[in-house]
């Protein structure tokens, strides 16, 4: 009980700090908070399909890219407000995710994981070939005070991710997903509509990167296929969610907060070797805590009888 209360107090404090950060007027703090909120929110989206439903995906960046282009194209070609375009991007990706999920979720394990990665590569090349996207030249958005707006947008989505995950963690849908993850065939025989549940999770987890991509375009003021469909962003997200604890409510938050700080200080302190250290860290943590940080801490607290 004590641990739980302390946990909520820390959360509330964190939220207040994140909410008030832009008032400092310090652009660096806004950028740092933005990047952290972005990765935590991306990890929450990823956690739905890969953590709860158990389909490891390396291709959620596809939806991130589509969302970013929705804003870039909507703002520059149709002169719409950016948040409207970002919302439309989310709707479009949700609609797209239904047939895509129905097709791709027939693949299992590594086939799905790398199939999604292939899909992201395909999306990048198709964006290059589509005239309205500006092709490889990219699209320039009007410069201005975009960072704070993009930050609050991203923070709202992050909070949405926590709330949605908390709901799923407790309701019947979440239970179905976990049953599927453990044994899809058995769950099927018990009357769970396997395809339907999985596609629902896939659609939900597509909406997050789509909305976040929209904010990212507004934040960067420049989109271009190679830096938007970024394998690096995808892999960082995956690493964060895993280290925090896949398929848990607080895993993405803990993983995202720790990793974004570690990664930032590693790359400034060890510019030559930070990738090596980062890789070694993933390996060591996975061996030591195969289920991630959050489940390990929970187990520890339970053992001590604190929680």
């Amino acid at each position: 009980m004590i641990a739980k209360r302390a946990g909520y107090a820390v959360l509330a404090l964190l939220f207040v700090v994140l909410l008030l950060a832009p008032l400092s007027g310090n652009g660096y703090i806004v950028s740092l908070c933005y990047i952290t909120a972005l990765f935590v929110a991306l990890a929450y989206g990823w956690n739905l399909i890969s953590g709860y439903a158990g389909y490891l995906s390396f291709g959620q960046i596809t939806f991130f890219g589509i969302g970013a282009y929705a804003v870039a194209i909507g703002v520059t070609r149709f002169h719409l407000p950016w948040y409207l375009c970002a919302a439309l991007g989310g709707v479009a990706c949700a609609a797209l995710a239904v047939p895509m999920g129905w097709l791709m979720l027939r693949l299992r394990g590594p086939f799905f994981a790398l199939g999604m990665l292939g899909l992201a590569q395909t999306a990048r090349i198709l964006t290059n070939l589509t005239p309205i996207s500006g092709g490889s030249e990219g699209i320039y958005l009007p410069p201005g005070a975009n960072a704070i707006a993009a930050y609050y947008w991203t923070l709202a989505i992050m909070v949405g991710g926590v709330v949605l995950t908390a709901a799923i963690d407790r309701n019947a849908f979440g239970l179905r997903l976990r049953a599927l993850r453990e044994d899809e065939r058995a769950a099927g025989t018990l009357g769970v509509d396997t395809t339907r549940s999985n596609v629902q999770a896939f659609v939900l987890s597509a909406i997050f990167p789509a909305l976040l991509g929209g904010g990212y375009a507004w934040y960067l003021t420049y989109v271009e296929p190679n830096s938007i469909y970024s394998t690096e962003i995808e892999l960082q997200t995956v690493a964060m969610a895993i280290l925090g604890g896949m398929g848990t409510l607080w895993g993405p938050l803990v993983g995202g907060l720790i990793m974004s700080q570690v990664s930032e200080s590693l790359s400034t302190r060890f510019p030559q070797t930070h990738l090596m250290i980062f890789g070694a860290l993933i390996v060591v943590l996975l061996i030591a805590l195969p289920r991630g940080i959050v489940p390990a801490v929970a187990a520890f607290l339970k053992k001590r009888g604190i929680a």
Partner: protein
Amino acid sequence: MNVTSRLTALAVCGGLLAGVAAGSGRAGAADQPPIVIGTTISQTGSYAEDAKYALQGYQLWVNQQNAKGGLLGRKIELKYYDDASDPATAVTQYQKLVQQDKVALLVGPYSSAITAAVANVAEQNKMPMISPEVSSVAPFKRGLKWVFQGQAQSTRYVAGAIDIAKQNGYKKIAVTGEDTAFPRSIAQAIPDLAKEAGLEIVFNELYPHNASDYTAIAQKIKQANPDAVFGISYFPDSIGLLRALKQANVTPKELFFAVGPTEPNFGKEAGKDADGVLSTTNWSANLKTADNGDFTKAFQAMFKSNPDYHSAANYAALQVLAAAINKNKSLDADKIREFMATTKVPTVMGTYEVDSSGIQVGYNSLTLQWQGGSQYVVWPASYQQKKPQLPFPAWTR
């Protein structure tokens, strides 16, 4: 004690004495905090190769200037982070430089894509910034006030290749290249330039970044049977394309790759096949530009390698910045901006001059050719180190 170590000892003593003398002469320099100049450089990720040369240009200038006593009597310090070739990371780091590290001045990062993203930080904080590694003019078309182009415009990169084709009567041109921002901005300029010169484009198709193979494009070029092949390619695709053209036995009379073979180690990686390949550079050691001889020698002494045009452009950006500071005798941002926007400054790259959008109009491109394992300037005639060897030699099997 042998001769060498005696000489070394002498040199060390001499250096110490000179240091003491310099120190006593400018007592103020030690008391005041250094002037910090901030930037990011892609030390990892896809831009790492070229960005290394760019950083060395900055480092050399800072070293030299400090040896001369710094600026306004203060030492200079270069503060840089690795942006990992990622624009969002670069934005965060530029914010950090401005807000946390409180740097006095900014200079640009590597690549057009990253400059496009961090330009907003310079604009927001009203800090003048010369960006020496952006050759695309697109970022300047949206009304930037504080950012200036410190590299020759990308459309000038092919002028030499086209002129050489025209002089030699090569009429049919095939154009290919990587479909990313910078190569595309060059490739798009070619049809107009070619038309002006009376040349005909017989093939024009780009391939994607990280292409898995270049064989198909080589076969297509072969079918088009061009006199000249213009590949707007970076380093890895220049090698891939060169090998694919050779293996498909495509035999153009002129072979030009925009920027891959500009790098000094192209000859090492491509071997004998490099001979005869034309390429672009925006700087050469034999240009008669301001301090160019000193620059080359000092670079070789400091890094034990030759500078390339990235090093020169970054060095030149700081030359302009120094000129602005010395002229105004202050670090006042508005005055520096005004100077950068309106003044012509002689640098190692040529004469720095920007138009009203901040686009560079002073710097030009030269054309290189690989001959016998080394690079020589072959165009324009006024800077020629050797005459171009044409037609492109038959492939040795």
